[in-house]
Amino acid sequence: MERIYLDHAATTPMHPEVIEAVSRQMGEVFGNPSSIHSFGRTARHVVDTARSTAAKSIGADFNEIIFTSGGTEADNLAITGIAKAMKQKGRHIITTAIEHHAVLHTCEQLEREGHEVTYLPVGEDGQLRLADLEEALREDTILVSVMYGNNEVGTLQPIADIGQLLKDHQAVFHTDAVQAYGMESIDVKAAHIDLLSVSSHKINGPKGIGFLYAKEGIALEPALFGGEQERKRRAGTENVPAIAGFNKAIELAASSLEEKRELYTGFKKQLINILEDKQITFHLNGTLEQSLPHVVNLSFPGTDVESMLVNLDLAGIAASSGSACTAGSIEPSHVLVAMYGKDSDRLRNSIRFSFGLTNTKEQIDQAGEAVAKIVARLTNK
């Protein structure tokens, strides 16, 4: 049985060229970038090249990229780093109810330490209302953290509008772009973004590496202390092979962006069309318009998440109930709660499909057929 992986929002396979880049670094250029001899200098060069690539990919400058161990660390560094560095200016933070747990749990931690956090609601479309943000904004607000594109339902937030709104306010604007990066074209200067988190393993790069863009001049208290790597903003020997792989992944993602957007948007429509043709009852969580091309989240009334996932897995289809990080135990998705309320059926019968490298039109056909069959069986039609 051919297995069909439709869970690219959880993690992606490394691109063969990325594996090659990582292997080459591990075998040949294994030096410590802080060493002053040629092994060290060669490794430093690899890190510098990747830093330029990363900077260029979002319209940032070389010195504005901090490599981290991944998206979680980037989010933690952004939020805690600002909260600590700006505590003289205020203790109020604004975020949304649908952020990734790396943002939400960090904010909750800061609340325990005396910060005040406003969690903005979203509509059924998954978007926050600018008016709500304007209203929540105070003189002592130091940080606004709003994700670029949601990992569970794919909804895009009005990032440029938020950037515009905050342009003349002391509050620093952070966006978690872990799901959007590589899929949306991002320009941090045009959108007035101060901090932006990226994870490599979501774009066919290696796990254990990511970056935080931090605009020049933004004061950030580091979280990891030690050597003076990353201009003292993130201690620890640089993960050179992973950084080399990340560099390749960014290049590949950037060069195929338009092509992928079109392909995955097509997959999304194809999947929906098949289900409609088979007269399956389902609801789209979020909208098709304001959404990441590779994520689609569907609610199937009359089914339940667990039997859906088990049956899909048996049929060789890997999908998810929500984010992988909350999936370990099936708890109701905080994103769907925010969109539809805690009593909605959608909390118990929604499945996320996410597309990526290696998926084909044929696979989507097969998956659509299989989903239709399973839903029909579970709802006794």
Partner: protein, 378 residues
Amino acid sequence: MIYFDNSATTKPYKEALSTYVKVNEQFFGNPSSLHHLGLQAERLLFESRKQMASLLGTEAENIIFTSGGTEANNLAIKGTALANMHRGRHIITQQTEHPSVINACQQLEEHGFRVSYLPVDSHGQVSAEDVAAALTNETILVSIMHVNNETGAIQPIQEIAKLLKNEPQVLFHVDDVQGRGKVPLNLENIDLCTLSAHKFHGLKGNGVLYKKKGVKLSALLSGGNQESGFRSGTENAGGVAAMAKALRLIEEHRREHGERLRAVQQFLRKELEGRQDVIIHTPREGCAPHILNFSVERLKGEVLVHALEERGCYLSTTSACSSRQKKTSTVLTAMGVPKEIADSSVRLSLSYENTRQEAEAFIQILKDTIPTLAKVQR
């Protein structure tokens, strides 16, 4: 090419590389995913954790995977400080610790903690008596490294552990980044212990914090609650599997080639001792078998490192993390080495793959190199 800079970083074992590639090609799933691929990745992570634990003589539940030694040291120190501050705000460490320990402690000082930085003797060793004398009712943590990264000096870990056995309220953390695979360390009376994969031929970006059951720790990274809530972030299953493989291999190499490594070090020491212009900083007794730190009088360490590199020998000045800053080594300073001599120091660090022939060739190159530089410097 003679690579004598294994304390900065090591070349990954071929087997570790192939494990990493295999995992990422075949089991790339997110361990938290519920489907087949997720379960495979989770099982692999579990097996790696078990293997790691058994190599360390402990249980799988005591292993926290991190992004490396720096994160593990930060988590150990700040994590215990935050979780135990209601019991006291005093920490004991010593002056020659790695910057990831010293700077983490300094950060805690800014947040109201008191830290005692114990002195070391001329061999770079801290005394257990000093640790005992520094203990107060407020002490919550003692953090002492096993093997010093610049000199190879071994700290009296078991003596301190024995002492702290009578102080159940004081946690004991050991930074074993440089010792692991080179100098055996029993974790029995240690509460927290740091390892870094790329120092034992694993991959960069992977480390372990050993945490004894029951030890209270606050997480530094919040998020998806991976690693039992102590370290959020998608697990790097490939890196972790490669790390477990590398640790198994280096332990084998230690048993098989441990004597040889020590003999290469002894040979180098004897040859260097024979020179009037060389001062050796690595203690004769109580040192790891792979590090030799020495000064060639009146030659800047940096100048010697570059000159040796031109002749195919790779060494470093101080630790890699501080070598780009061109500061006088705080480790040698703490040992009482005068500034001028400390600025001349270079560190030579071996792996089990280095041979007597390489050591002989190195000595010859050093002999040929020094006179050419001595001329330049005058």
